[in-house]
Symmetry: D2
Amino acid sequence: MSAPLGVAVLGTAFMGKAHSAAWRNVGAMFPDAPATAMRVLCGSDPERTAASARILGWQEAATDWREVVTRDDVQIVDICTPGHLHAEMATAALAAGKHVLVEKPLATSLAEAERMAAAAQRAAGASMLGFNYRRVPALALARQLVHEGRIGRVRTVRAAYLQDWLVDPEAPMTWRLRAETAGNGALGDLGSHVVDQILAITGQHVTGARGALRTFQQQRPGPDGPEQVTVDDAAWAQLELDGGTVASLEVSRVATGSKNALTIEVHGSDGALSFDLERLNELVVTEGRAGWPARVLVTEPTHPDLEAWWPPGHVLGWDSTFVMQAAALLRSIAAGQAPEPSFADGLAVQRVLDAIERSDAAQGAMMPLGDAR
Amino acid sequence: MSAPLGVAVLGTAFMGKAHSAAWRNVGAMFPDAPATAMRVLCGSDPERTAASARILGWQEAATDWREVVTRDDVQIVDICTPGHLHAEMATAALAAGKHVLVEKPLATSLAEAERMAAAAQRAAGASMLGFNYRRVPALALARQLVHEGRIGRVRTVRAAYLQDWLVDPEAPMTWRLRAETAGNGALGDLGSHVVDQILAITGQHVTGARGALRTFQQQRPGPDGPEQVTVDDAAWAQLELDGGTVASLEVSRVATGSKNALTIEVHGSDGALSFDLERLNELVVTEGRAGWPARVLVTEPTHPDLEAWWPPGHVLGWDSTFVMQAAALLRSIAAGQAPEPSFADGLAVQRVLDAIERSDAAQGAMMPLGDAR
Amino acid sequence: MSAPLGVAVLGTAFMGKAHSAAWRNVGAMFPDAPATAMRVLCGSDPERTAASARILGWQEAATDWREVVTRDDVQIVDICTPGHLHAEMATAALAAGKHVLVEKPLATSLAEAERMAAAAQRAAGASMLGFNYRRVPALALARQLVHEGRIGRVRTVRAAYLQDWLVDPEAPMTWRLRAETAGNGALGDLGSHVVDQILAITGQHVTGARGALRTFQQQRPGPDGPEQVTVDDAAWAQLELDGGTVASLEVSRVATGSKNALTIEVHGSDGALSFDLERLNELVVTEGRAGWPARVLVTEPTHPDLEAWWPPGHVLGWDSTFVMQAAALLRSIAAGQAPEPSFADGLAVQRVLDAIERSDAAQGAMMPLGDAR
Amino acid sequence: MSAPLGVAVLGTAFMGKAHSAAWRNVGAMFPDAPATAMRVLCGSDPERTAASARILGWQEAATDWREVVTRDDVQIVDICTPGHLHAEMATAALAAGKHVLVEKPLATSLAEAERMAAAAQRAAGASMLGFNYRRVPALALARQLVHEGRIGRVRTVRAAYLQDWLVDPEAPMTWRLRAETAGNGALGDLGSHVVDQILAITGQHVTGARGALRTFQQQRPGPDGPEQVTVDDAAWAQLELDGGTVASLEVSRVATGSKNALTIEVHGSDGALSFDLERLNELVVTEGRAGWPARVLVTEPTHPDLEAWWPPGHVLGWDSTFVMQAAALLRSIAAGQAPEPSFADGLAVQRVLDAIERSDAAQGAMMPLGDAR
């Protein structure tokens, strides 16, 4: 048995906590994957980082990420910091020969994303982007069924990601609502997941995109009075794919009553699929032209990534996707294969989001994406 | 008690049968509305029309519609013929001083629709367009809740109308799939209902539209070999409304597994609504920003048009909407008020559909609709 | 073409209205069935009956049921009066050589029910009991699937019929809540439908029954102060069937939030079915031991009784079941066959209900039903 | 900060794995609870236990449970072995002054359960029974709403726990299907959870029980030919509670298409609740007599045990209930309070199950439970 792979997580907020849970559990749920050791949690505040490290199961805490990414006892660097820090940290870690996992979005600008994808291609270490919804077993099953041809040629995808946390006009201003810190709003945060799923499930590439963005609540209370919101509350887009599929998507942070409703409907020439993240363990499958929608509880050992999980009918939570993501990275490292999704996959998504923004600026006209792969 | 209003139905196919059922039942379900007499059913084939008239409960059968629309014992002319005949028949009936009900679509061209709306405005008789889904009690309740402000300002509407009857590539060519006879495809047939609902529920007017059409199956078998399909199988659009709402819609005749799925989600600043025609008796209502989606079974006597129907929990069928539609026309006639929806409402819908087609031809660019009301 | 069969309906209340709708529409929806004429509506109040007759489409009104059931121009007597009148009216009509349809329950005592079943057996005319839910296409499909062996041997049925109209303790006293007028409460009113479905779907006979009744609200306001409720608000039972199936059922009039929720789950050795009357057009079908529950929209022309109805996806209402029931009676008359369900079927149900009441009195002990067929 | 509490888990199978996950994660999800250290995993097979201990995160492995339960560095003994070992292990651990968590069922006989409850009462250490579904946030919310009177007086509970793993007649014989090793079948395994929920949600005590058991598949293949199944495949019961509630329950291991469907419907005088374990994150709440069923996604920080979990809409898995269970035990220890559910709660459940079995033997007659608390 070889030595365990040392892991460092950069970032101690929501995603740092979720990724820590993944590293804490991956060995127990996927004992066949390479073993890991939770070496170090890195954050900006020394005291809070130390407390988090202890609670979350890390051997050490640190505050200097540059030092962390070059440590000899660290083989995997898992980046959970805000998006504008991803590029610098990831390229440094790759340059130091580490395997790198970057929480989505890949970067906050297309230029950065392109540099990161190029760096990943050159690097010796594995690189992976944290689109964790690829690991939702029901979505992985959807992808598998499409790729096996079980629903025929995919004609349309109808997708949405609806949340409600900005419904209240008095919800305060944050960095997420400023273009300079967040890039964009619902489009980037929610739309990136949707676009990645469309690409993953269809296995196609986007050839053209059009769309629109809207900010319903233009001002929100800041500490010193009303401030201007400079990102979108909601966005709509239509994508044309090179396999003939047309996909539509809608994302919103002002969708009253929807908490975390990533919904995807796939209509093929010989069947259909539908999914709702609020019912993470279910995939509705229609097989054949005259079939009826069947509710599959995706908890069987034959379903993707579930061979070693709980017995059938024992449902999984959102956090399990991070455990599966960690396992996928470890298995790729062991196999010497490039993990999925790659930085290039993240770049493809970002190109689509960029085209949607350009289309919005051009009154909705179609933007071709000849090189969107 | 005054003499009953004599009714004539033009057309003996699917819609003629559905409207006949309405006239057969409206007196029993809405005894407060003016009484009617089922005078004459008019069709092109003498024998078949005679048989249908007998079965469907008509006193007489006829084949000459021009004669029928001027009969003294006919006060209401109900037009259920194919769309390209609507304009001539409706204007003739209005000119003869009759009340007129026209099955949707109003007409097959914008010019015709404008002439019909103008004729309706001039006429002494009442004129009504048969958007029967306005009478679905759950949709009428949705409209009422929005107009009462129960969900606040409407920010977004997400709608679709998905059917599957063209999924099979071997489904044969018909007049519905040729531009010259049908005008357009899913957009007109299904999209007209969706746009009318968006207008009715929000109470707003469309100021701009963009969209796209797609024909997935370009050829279908005709009697003498493959023929070219010249209408859309599916369409997408985004509408901007003058009250600040953004609406998106998707329609399809190739949506495997969806039989008659007109779905509408309305997100307001203080609540949300959602509806699915396959569950015609239900409206999902979220009240307040922190509310949860409640499934309302719309069969209570306090719900729209249900004061005289069956007891709570005894669900209604699709055909009941035609009974309610007939009652609405009769009540408007009795009250001397213009019935709803009017030909002008139908014209507004047609202008939106026309803008969507023009946007499709212009690569999706926004088409302004300054006068869409 | 032979002369139409003359129909008389006895009773002008809720069921009289529902059955009138059936006779008004059966010819249009089932043109292959024998034609009928709506001869006479019979009620106790001359004025109200005359008004109802006019509104509901009857040629005449009458108040003397004994005269009506012997009229030469009446071939079918449809009895919609309160249960305690059924026996006398039905036997008189059968004695007069008429075909008879009796709204459920067959009678209010087992002795009466036995006499009626015997009279039906002797009579020349057809006799049918109005368990209209047998005509719900989804339930008819359930029965068909079971009888075809599509879900294997039926092991268990889990059924309930839950309503909420007595939830309010201030809901007033009525004849339905007195044992002397109503016989029993939820057990007879709701349980009779449930037991009939269990028998129809399984095709088996009950060999033993146990159960319990409960009156949660013992007193309710009457015109002169509180009165004693002498029937059950809710009941539970377990049935053993001769094919090895065990069925459980629960009925309630105090089930808050349930309007008309007749739910039936059937678990077989090779599949399962489930149904909810509030979603009348749907049957959930699980085929095979490893199958998943598929939601079938029971509106296809291949589904029971739907060959001549609306196109797929156009849902049916509760009232359509009465149209189908009338058609079934007419077709049986035309074919010279005994209609289903028969008075004997109603008697079988009543024997089961009686055994449940006896079991309740005996602290829940099993009551054998050797002759329950 | 005091020293962490040392934990030992006895048992390495399914439940040992689930409980290990709880101890691995409780500190991260509930940092306010006392800290723990995963001292030792104890199993019968030295090699397999060592491997499991390493994978699951334990410091040590052991095979002698008697030695483990007296170790000085162990303060909490968590018993996950088969039921017939619970009594001896738990009483030994309690005698050694440890806190004890016992996976359900408490014991395999009523006598043993009584001895364990008595031992727990005398012991200095805390004792808790692992009815983990008490920790399902939606069920905890159900209980809270009932106890706050939000749905008024509970009139009826309708519950079921349906699984399908014995549907196949060729499913092999196991110790779970023999009375001598398993006590009983579906009744004990599934019914215990259901009865515990009925007691917890209503807060009442059972005064009488009746029921029936059934073995549909009497023989199953063993290594040397067909063997006799001596436990029930399915069971039904009706309970009377001292607060006036009537509860019905049905459990089955042959319910085709149901994987893990613990469903509970609670009908009160002023509202209703319903739950399905296959949709673990949802509770359907009807408030008021005229309310409608609202689907609450139980992932809000204000919901039970969720203040420190993931953001709203990020659903939890089945395994999270064990984390919450561990936290509840730790918080009780810290507060010096008796944890819930206690051994006495487990004894109360077992008395009800015993009465159901006695009723089955007595043809379903009601068995009084005067002392069932």
